[in-house]
């Protein structure tokens, strides 16, 4: 049910033509502005693709607003309340996990459909009935890392990360996924505000593990990689980490070639119909694909499907999405009915030197089912 407003100004319920309003709340400014931008570009490309270039859905009047949350959960909540109050039935966006969790709560309280964006927190999966995700989650990253090992059983794995929710989440995921398969998992978590990583790098090289899984984000990334290279960690063992957006390709320093990357998406990773459509659309509008463009693209596909089937009725739209399988840029994706995890293929990538700059190169596609996260809440 939507909000009772004392003096309804718009959106009279009901008869023939349905109006669906969508509030896309994401980072347009602020620290995650770059993610927000590529998400939005991907979304527009996806909308174009899913509606065959019309931007319209049969019998539905579609209204999409883009709203800036500046990466601030409180701003996002206020915006969400505003659009929910105006009778919007769908919210999307969320580049930051904190934002996604806060908005998901609003979606549940007010029963609107929420299509979360790039935010990677596992906690978003299965959080409530109304929340879906159009991106991957941390557990899928970790499972992809496992594909680098010949045999997980009995191997010695170090998780090197920051002592924050992201790092702890990765440790938990590695323990859940690889520990379960018989690997010995040693976390080395560095306090988030630390800036000196040399001793930790020395510690890792002293432990001589079979694999080092690095989960890192933020401004100290460059310094961390330099320390790993200087203490010969990169040379002596398999180091796996996630390859982030374009801006980060040069961040791994001279040791880049020695690092194995798991990857959610990089431009050129796939070459299917959706990917071609996305690239064509982006080129036409002067943009370039990036890590989270595909999340926007998939999000738009999900939106169009939900509306086509559910015509703005939230419960019907949820029903339409659960269990739906579709072809997206990354390949075939399935929305798992139990917890709304988005089952999708992942990539193994390496960086190669291309005339002084590092560019990604596909090694292998990790099968969607092989890297599927365990069902949330089980």
């Amino acid at each position: 049910p939507t909000t009772a407003t004392p003096d309804a100004t718009e959106g009279a319920d009901g008869t023939e033509s349905v109006a669906v309003s969508v509030g896309m709340i994401t980072s347009i400014t602020g620290p995650l502005a770059a993610y927000g931008a590529s998400y939005q570009q991907g979304f527009e490309a996806g909308l174009d693709y899913a509606t065959d270039g019309t931007g319209e859905i049969d019998g539905v009047e579609l209204k999409i607003d883009w709203l800036d949350d500046q990466g601030n959960p409180d701003t996002a909540v206020n915006l969400a309340k505003d659009v929910i109050g105006q009778g919007y039935q769908v919210i999307g966006g969320s580049a930051a996990s904190g934002v996604a969790l806060a908005v998901a709560e609003q979606a549940a309280q007010n029963n609107v459909l929420f299509l979360s964006g790039p935010a990677a927190a596992d906690a978003i999966t299965g959080i409530n009935d109304q929340t879906f995700r159009s991106g991957r989650q941390t557990l899928q990253d970790v499972a992809t890392a496992a594909t680098f090992l010949d045999s997980v059983e009995g191997s010695n794995i170090v998780v090197f990360g920051q002592d924050n929710a992201f790092g702890q989440g990765n440790v938990a995921s590695v323990e859940a996924v690889l520990g379960a398969e018989g690997a010995e998992v040693t976390p080395i978590l560095v306090p988030e505000d630390a800036t000196e990583f040399t001793p930790f790098a020395q510690q890792i090289s002293g432990a001589s593990p079979d694999m080092v899984f690095v989960a890192w984000a933020g401004a100290t990334t460059g310094a961390m990689w330099e320390a790993l290279a200087q203490q010969q960690v990169l040379e002596s063992t398999t180091v796996v980490t996630g390859l982030a957006d374009r801006a980060s390709y040069q961040a791994y320093g001279p040791g880049s070639a020695d690092i194995q990357f798991l990857n959610h998406y990089f431009p050129g990773a796939t070459d299917n119909e959706a990917a071609q459509a996305m690239d064509a659309y982006l080129e036409e509008h002067g943009h370039e694909a990036d890590l989270f463009t595909v999340d926007g693209f998939a999000g738009a596909q999900m939106l169009v499907h939900a509306i086509t089937e559910g015509k703005g009725d939230v419960d019907a739209m949820i029903g339409a999405l659960e269990g739906w399988t579709f072809e997206s840029v990354k390949g075939e994706m399935t929305i798992r009915p139990e917890d709304h995890a988005l089952i999708q293929p992942m990539f193994q990538v390496s960086l190669v030197d291309d005339g002084g700059t590092w560019v990604p190169e596909l090694i292998e596609v990790a099968d969607a089912e092989a890297v599927a996260p365990p069902v949330a809440g089980e």
Partner: protein, 368 residues
């Protein structure tokens, strides 16, 4: 100083302001560019409620900074204690089997006690030093609190992603966008409560001693009074009031993230209090509201199309809300030391033909 608002007219004006504020959700007033929609819509109401809670928080900070003259960089800690305290306790108590009303009340009471203890503990230590050292000790404690919160200490604070409200333990009337109006009234009630409490503290004899101690500490002790205790009282009271605002914040937003425990967030309070006018109770309120609205609306301005068409020299600064706010703040500090309220006071006084009591700069040098 308090010429206007202590008069009978002032009291009437305060009363009228509260009545108008209480009636807003029932009215259909549109303020384009300030509110996202007409005043009865949830969007507008939640922005206004948010602004009022920030104002209440700023008002509690005003007690420490504006009244007692202590520059604290740790006030956000108490706001966070309120928000996180309520969120965590509701979550912890939810499985206890008690009726949800009991859990709700119990969580509120325990949060208040925690804030009281925390405020007195931190205050007791920090107040042993003064001036910049005091600022640094409060900063250090707040930083420690922020680190603990971000680390997901004890698995309770949720790290970067924060804590969400356990809605099942909260009265239905305060849940969901349908009830935004109730949340708005709750925020208004909290603001009025904090206003009355700070009015109380400031007007009491204790408040006067705090002001005197700010002026001349030795003189106070020679009269046989102890500045330490009165300051601690004010610090503790401000901590509890901040926690009250924090609880309201949790209920309104249904979630809390570490952002509200950062030193930057305290700096925001400082900005608010100065923007509104240091030393004026109304300054904190006006500052809180103006700041929140600016903060929310400047983002809209930043992404508006007429900015996008400007040349880079103008476009880049204008599309950064914090840049505009920061510079505005600088201008206020430099050219309008009394902030917004100070300016209106001066204007009303001028209109009344009285002379301007603000000392020129040269003189303040001599006094310092």
């Amino acid at each position: 100083m308090r010429t206007f608002f202590s008069s009978v007219w002032g009291k009437l004006a305060v009363g009228a302001a509260i009545v108008v504020a209480a009636l807003l959700p029932l009215l259909n007033i549109t303020i384009p560019g300030v509110l996202p929609g007409p005043t009865y819509t949830p969007g507008a109401l939640s922005v206004m409620a948010y602004a009022m809670l920030i104002a209440a928080l700023a008002l509690s900070y005003h007690l420490i900074f504006g009244v007692a003259g202590m520059l604290s960089f740790g006030h956000a800690m108490f706001f966070a204690a309120g928000a996180y305290g309520l969120g965590i306790l509701l979550k912890l108590l939810a499985p206890s089997g008690m009726p949800s009303e009991a859990v709700f009340l119990l969580a509120i009471v325990i949060t208040l006690v925690i804030a009281l203890v925390l405020g007195n503990l931190v205050g007791a230590l920090a107040l042993r030093v003064t001036g910049i050292s005091f600022a640094m000790v409060t900063l250090a404690f707040a930083q420690a609190a922020n680190v603990m919160i971000r680390r997901n200490t004890g698995g309770l604070t949720g790290g970067e992603e924060g804590v969400t409200l356990t809605v099942s333990m909260v009265p239905d009337a305060l849940v969901g966008v349908v009830n935004t109006r109730n949340l708005y009234w709750m925020a208004l009630a909290i603001l009025v409560l904090v206003y009355l409490a700070s009015l109380w503290v400031e007007r009491s004899r204790l408040g006067h001693v705090v002001v005197a101690a700010r002026e001349n500490e030795l003189r106070v002790t020679v009269l046989g009074l102890r500045p330490y205790h009165v300051r601690l009282f004010v610090f503790g009271a401000a901590a509890v009031l901040a926690a009250v605002a924090g609880m309201g914040f949790m209920l309104l937003q249904s979630s809390a993230t570490p952002r509200i425990s950062t030193a930057d967030f305290t700096l925001t309070l400082l900005v608010i209090v100065v923007l509104g006018g240091v030393g004026y109770r109304w300054g904190a309120i006006v500052g809180g509201i103006v700041y929140t609205i600016l903060d929310q609306r400047l983002a809209a301005l930043a992404s508006s199309s007429w900015i996008a068409d400007l040349p880079a020299v103008l476009r880049i600064p204008l599309s950064e809300p914090l840049f505009i706010l920061g510079m505005l703040f600088v201008l206020v500090v430099m050219f309008a030391p009394g902030g917004i309220v100070g300016i209106t006071h001066r204007l009303t006084r001028r209109a009344g033909g009285k002379r301007d009591a603000k000392a020129p700069e040269v003189l303040q040098d001599v006094e310092a």
